[in-house]
């Protein structure tokens, strides 16, 4: 991959908290709902989750947990209004300097299935702007 068409977001942040505290905060339903968005998220491989719009209770983001073993968490992240773009969220925790370094990567515009994507794309009439607006609305 070259940097010209970079399609990945990477964030690294250090927290003055034990690794298990941070791990629980990013994996437990109640806790994730506190700082991210109200969700039914469960950190079990194969479990699906959704982020709901509180206004109309419609799913805004959907996904499935692909990996959930301390201290790596991976799930897919699909905007309901842009279903053909399957992105991936990866969380990784490392104990460091009496705290925890968290690295998160949001990647995967490149996850297309090359055979089926063109048809879906041709029939698609929505747009990213709409996704952004809707998502911004509930996630802000």
């Amino acid at each position: 991959m070259n940097t010209l068409v970079k399609d990945t977001i990477e964030k690294t942040q250090w927290f003055a908290h034990p690794i298990d505290t941070v791990w629980n905060a990013i994996t437990e339903t109640e806790q994730v709902s506190q700082w991210l968005v109200p969700t039914d998220f469960k950190a079990e491989v194969g479990a699906s989750y959704s982020l709901k719009n509180p206004k109309d209770n419609c799913d805004m983001v959907r996904g499935e947990v692909l990996e959930a073993a301390p201290y790596t968490l991976v799930y897919s992240w699909i905007n309901e209004t842009c279903k053909e773009v399957v992105t991936l969220i990866t969380w990784n925790l490392v104990e460091e300097n009496n705290g925890t370094t968290l690295k998160m990567v949001h990647s995967g515009i490149s996850q297309y299935d090359n055979d089926t994507a063109p048809d879906m794309i041709e029939s698609y009439t929505g747009g990213w702007e709409r996704c952004f607006n809707n998502l911004g609305e509930i996630l802000s």
Partner: protein, 106 residues
Amino acid sequence: MSEIGNRIFKAIADPTRREIFHLLVIGSALSISQISNSFDISRQGVTKHIKVLEEANMVEFKTQGREKFIFAKPEALKEVKDWLAFYDKFWDDKLDSLGRYLDETT
């Protein structure tokens, strides 16, 4: 913008197309044969890739002399930049929120 946006995402999903596009951006315009030689793929294969890039409005053909050359239109990547800008800010905000949550509850 929606159609084009999706075509761009589709276009850059393929590593070979990324590389072809990259080469066109950092280098100069190239013919199908030149790309074919650089990547060791058939002219037919290159033509297919270029078609996808052209549909995404990422490249255009210009005839010079007898040959057709392919030019990159890197401004097409604005769509991808918008996507990244949105989520970049989103995750900054959410990680701040996670930090506050951790500080307050533990």
